[in-house]
């Protein structure tokens, strides 16, 4: 490693400095006075914080694009003792995270301004979480991935409890913290066993070591514990129990964050660790993950039917979506990788659009969260109701929305890998999911609302919904560019693995 290598870390450096800046800025503004997190409403301050955060995100995106110019140089993409790779796969996800984060800032704006809590610390924590996500998708070493994951998790625990005078929010933080740290410990125990057997923590070298090993109990135990920890992070059944409670109790923009950015980061590392590191032992873990995927799809989609709280319904639906993405990881094929990449994008945009609609209805802290709040929405806000239908169709995987393209890749990959039964379960459960998605559509169009939930749409929410709508429809009708990019980014990882296997 030389000092010149730090250029690869440029985006992470920019966002870290930005996060620290957001933390100290209010102190500087008040001449070194004490900042009270629950002080007076900080109307003007919240707006300044928003623009500062957006500026930092733009700078980070520029840094990612600038550093992506270096990707062409294959030999140089692994730096810091082979811990950190700035490859096409990482850049794909980094840009997705930055875009998601920018939309989350627009979603949080009014919600925060109406609350009593400081916007500066909130955006600072979001920036640290973004730094963790960017670091972990670049990690090609289990220690680097773990540190990124913990930075994301610790920020998320605090953000879940950000409305600290609300019991619901604090309770959500407590549940998330206890279950999250236990799962991290389980994941770490798995890592320690894998290290003990293979003698390395680098994913590529783990794969090398595994290619010469026969199945061995300690190693299998390690892989299973690592998988269990990761399944918790993506909220796959039976490790999903925290999801509905945390999603319901957390402030709504944070629920949006947990169900989009944080989840797709976990998908990315899950795919990278298992595709790059564990592919030699796939026959041993594929079946276990297939059962977990089937359970997630069945439990998630069936439990969602009976939910009346929209945050809980979306929590169960997101458990089902974790099951779909697992199909791509189980298949251990290039097609599966493309599926994970495409589905992450599709899922993030459709879900963010739905959260924008939910936030439009929630006037203050926990209002507008029942399915009944959507009643008669087509008369009060026809465009929002229409957009909501498109997002729900996309999550259900109906053409011509982008969700169809994502599911097509994942199901195709599962069939190609010999998991036809799993694809059948996935298709059936997609049909079940349309049932509860249409409960919302029915409430919006067929029931006359008494208008309990007031429609308060701001420019930021409209912009987010418009972007999500355009992306969802555009990639549904013209999937070409997204699929091409996924093939380049996923293909990069696949090529490196194939080249490494051919070398020996």
């Amino acid at each position: 490693m030389t000092w010149g290598d730090t250029i690869y870390l440029l985006p992470e450096i920019v966002i870290s400095i930005g996060a620290c800046l957001l933390l100290i800025a209010p102190v500087m503004r008040r001449g070194g006075g004490v900042v009270r997190a629950s002080g007076a409403p900080s109307g003007g301050g919240a707006r300044t914080a928003k623009w500062t955060m957006l500026a930092i995100l733009v700078l980070t995106a520029v840094a990612v694009i600038a550093s992506s110019g270096l990707v062409a140089d294959v030999a140089q993409t692994k730096t810091f003792a082979s811990m950190f790779a700035l490859d096409s796969f990482a850049i794909f996800f980094k840009l997705l995270f930055i875009a998601t984060m920018a939309m989350l800032v627009l979603l949080s704006d009014d919600y925060l301004a109406a609350s009593r809590y400081s916007a500066w610390e909130y955006y600072s924590l979001l920036s640290f979480a973004l730094c963790g996500m960017m670091f972990m998708v670049s990690g090609v070493h289990l220690a680097a991935i773990y540190i990124g994951l913990e930075l994301l998790s610790l920020s998320s625990y605090i953000l879940a409890g950000y409305f600290k005078n609300e019991l619901k929010s604090t309770e959500a933080a407590m549940k998330y913290f206890v279950l999250g740290t236990v799962s991290s410990a389980i994941l770490l125990y798995g890592i320690s066993l894998i290290y003990g057997v293979t003698g390395t923590l680098n994913l590529m070298r783990i794969a090398d070591a595994m290619s010469t090993l026969v199945t061995n109990d300690a190693l299998m135990f390690g892989i299973m514990l690592l998988g269990a920890g990761l399944c918790f992070k993506i909220a796959a059944a039976p490790f999903h129990v925290w999801t509905p409670d945390v999603y319901e109790g957390a402030p709504t923009p944070i629920t949006a964050f947990l169900s989009t950015a944080s989840k797709s980061a976990a998908f990315a590392i899950f795919a990278r660790i298992f595709y790059v590191g564990m592919h030699h032992f796939r026959l041993d873990w594929q079946v276990v993950l297939a059962i977990i995927a089937a359970l997630s799809m069945i439990i998630g989609n069936l439990a969602a039917i009976t939910q009346d709280n929209i945050k809980r319904m979306l929590a169960y639906s997101s458990i089902g979506h974790a099951g779909y993405v697992l199909l791509g990881i189980i298949s251990v094929s290039e097609m599966g990788l493309y599926g994970v990449l495409v589905y992450s994008v599709v899922y993030v945009f459709a879900t963010l659009g739905i959260w924008a609609t939910v936030l439009m209805l929630s006037k203050h802290e926990y209002a507008g969260e029942q399915v009944s709040d959507f009643e008669g929405l087509h008369r009060r806000a026809p465009l929002w109701a229409f957009a909501m239908i498109i997002f729900l169709l996309s999550l259900g995987g109906i053409p011509p929305t982008a969700g169809f393209i994502g599911k097509y890749f994942l199901f195709y990959a599962a069939v190609g890998a010999g998991f036809g039964w799993l694809a059948i379960v996935a298709v059936l459960m997609s049909a079940v999911s349309m049932f509860f998605y249409f409960r919302i559509v029915m409430a919006m169009y067929l029931r006359d609302g008494d208008g309990q939930a007031e429609v308060v749409s701001s420019g930021g929410l409209k912009l987010v919904a418009a972007i999500c709508l355009v992306v969802t429809l555009l990639f549904g009708i013209l999937p070409g560019p997204l699929v091409e990019q996924a093939k380049i980014s996923g293909g990069w990882v696949a090529k490196r693995v194939a080249a490494n296997n051919a070398q020996r």
Binding site: Y146, M174, T181, V241
Partner: protein, 100 residues
């Protein structure tokens, strides 16, 4: 000099005690201590393997795990203090506003 297997037994025992503690104890402070126990079991594993493999990566990783554990304890205690302010209890069972 104990063998690696003995260290692994110790670490597995500590990890099991930690998991059982998280599951059966209702006091949040004890739960936090159990989580720390699980992380330290991992550290023993990593250092034992590191010594056996004559490879420093495991020991370096241990330093990181200790750092993260400190951060986790800080966040956990902060959440706990807030919970105590709102409910005057740190018993996990008595906090159940969210159904599920």
């Amino acid at each position: 000099m104990p063998s690696t297997a003995q260290y692994l037994m110790l670490s597995a025992t500590l990890f099991a005690i930690g998991i059982v503690g998280v599951i059966i104890r209702r006091n949040m402070i004890t739960v936090l201590m159990s989580i720390e126990l699980m992380l330290n079991a991992v550290n023993i594993n990593l250092v034992a393997f590191s010594h056996r493999l004559a490879d420093l990566q495991g020991q370096v990783f241990t330093i990181f795990v200790i750092t993260v554990a400190a951060g986790e304890a800080a966040v956990g205690l902060a959440i706990m203090i807030q919970l105590y302010r709102l409910r005057s209890t740190v018993n996990v069972d008595e906090v159940k506003t969210l159904h599920g």
